[in-house]
């Protein structure tokens, strides 16, 4: 076993969007896991995925929490200027919810309860399609967070399960996660697919109902990843490994006990992080149905991205090269980082 090299850079700026799966970088900072690796990390809250992407590509951020499809979309030049980007670590699995307004969801089964259709996302999807045909109103407007997101793809998959055409039967728009609940309550959108805590917040406040979850549609899917540019990774290999070790340590600590998860929830509630968005969370059991947000299983694997690759190829109108996908979601960085002893 080799000893790790000293980090090339000790002061890092990492970007995040206020969501429950920003938990690992926040825990790594507040719990001292970055510090234990000799890293001083500033977490920079960003209000849009495109801003996170552009700042990362321009080198204004060292790394960022990214939507899992985004590093590949960036590498292919499909989102913003082409920028070779890597996803060396998964930051969370599951956590997405599909919420419909009270008007569209009345009487529908909860995603994972024992009522008919509770475990099959197609039942609510067909129900929605049937209501749409019967009501014959203007196309419902459904929101997701970004064109290159699992939210967009899962929403399309769910509509397809119901026999609907996502391009013709509904209108898809992108909204920032923090604006979803309000837009739904004001009737500007009819439903959305978003990461936690926003779906459960909409349900908690009564503006809508969770009718399907990402965990149902894509079991175990990697939802967010750590993103770094290839250029940055090549210039800072030891820093990247230290960062990965710190995040893995944070995940291990979090999994250890309910007290640790409660402590993490308190950190997430701090104003620089999720702030008021967390107000309803004490009512929610973390890591359980229906949301089942998982902050473990951080080693990336290209095969797990299969649904993302399929949707991305459809968006670009051409098949993707397997090598590009494997290079982007390679587990080599995790393996290198975890096979070295701590300094």
């Amino acid at each position: 076993m080799s000893m790790p090299q000293a980090a090339e850079r000790t002061h890092l700026a990492l970007g995040f969007v206020p969501l429950l799966d920003a938990a690992l970088p926040i825990v790594a900072r507040e719990g001292g896991f970055f510090a234990a690796e000799g890293l001083e990390v500033t977490l920079s809250r960003e209000s849009a995925w495109s801003t996170l992407r552009d700042k990362l590509a321009a080198g204004l951020l060292d790394g960022a929490q990214l939507l899992a499809p985004l590093p590949l979309a960036m590498s292919l030049g499909a989102s913003g200027p082409a920028c070779d980007t890597l996803a060396p670590l998964v930051l969370g699995r599951h956590g997405n919810t599909l919420v419909l307004s009270a008007y569209w969801s009345e009487g529908m089964a909860a995603p994972l309860d024992d009522s008919p259709g509770g475990h099959d996302p197609a039942v609510n999807a067909r129900d929605f399609a049937e209501r749409l045909r019967r009501r014959g109103t203007t196309r419902p407007r459904l929101a997701m967070v970004h064109p290159f997101s699992s939210h967009h793809y899962q929403l399309r998959d769910w509509l397809t399960l119901g026999g609907l055409d996502p391009d013709r039967d509904v209108e898809l728009v992108a909204l920032p996660p923090s604006r979803m609940v309000e837009a739904l309550e004001q009737g500007r959108i009819d439903g959305f697919c978003v990461g936690e805590p926003w779906g459960s917040q909409a349900a908690h406040r009564g503006g809508g109902r969770i009718v399907a979850t990402g965990a149902q549609l894509w079991p175990d899917h990697p939802e967010k990843v750590l993103g770094v540019t290839r250029d940055w990774a090549e210039r800072h290999p030891a820093t990247l490994q230290a960062m990965i070790r710190a995040l893995i340590a944070a995940a291990g600590w979090l999994a250890e006990s309910p007290e640790h998860r409660r402590q993490a929830r308190d950190w997430l509630t701090l104003p620089p992080y999720l702030d008021r968005a967390m107000d309803h969370l004490p009512t929610l059991p973390l890591g359980e149905a229906p949301v089942d947000q998982r902050l473990t299983g951080l080693r990336p694997a290209a095969d797990e991205l299969a649904p993302v690759v399929e949707h991305l190829a459809r968006q670009l109108g051409e098949p993707l090269e397997r090598a590009a996908v494997e290079a982007c979601y390679s587990p080599v960085h995790v393996d290198t980082a975890t096979h070295q002893e701590r300094a």
Binding site: S47, W49, D167, L172, A174, P176
Partner: protein, 199 residues
Amino acid sequence: MTPSPPLRILLVDDESVRAAMVEEALGQEGHEVICHLQSPASLNDMVERHAPDVVIIDMESPDRDTLDSMSQLHRQNPRPVVFFADQHDPESMQAALKAGVSAYVVDGLVPTRVRAILEVAVARFDAFQSMRQELDRTRNQLAERKRIEKAKGLLMKHQNCDEPQAYQTLRKLAMDRGQRIGEVAGNVIDILEGLEKGL
């Protein structure tokens, strides 16, 4: 050479002063600026209604993802907006990013025209930034001057001296400690007010 036709520009910016600066500058270049101070309720509808050639938006705006999606979705939209990413001109991209300007333009718009608009917006965003820094500095100076006046008043009262003497005392303290006179004034106020409360 015939002058280029004016462009329709949608400006989305919460900073009203900055928005006014950009609007005026672009208006002087002969462009038609539709200005929106608050994030519009539905940016999608707004872009469809006004069919702008260019959207200039604060990089920190949460509405950026909405604009990002409009080039990917809505194939029925007659005026798709695509992210301006001139890879042949990394310097102007960097300048725009640093100033906090992001721009979306319709496909096919001549790059030189986009660049000219972007330069105007970047210059105004930068100018606004310096203006705000200047304002902060002035505010700090004003606060410091008030602090010095107050410290002088307290010294005059407690040491039974006149104003020039009080000022000399502050200056000497500052020189001895290698601090700015404003900082020393703060300390003096704390100590003398503490004394007064204790009395």
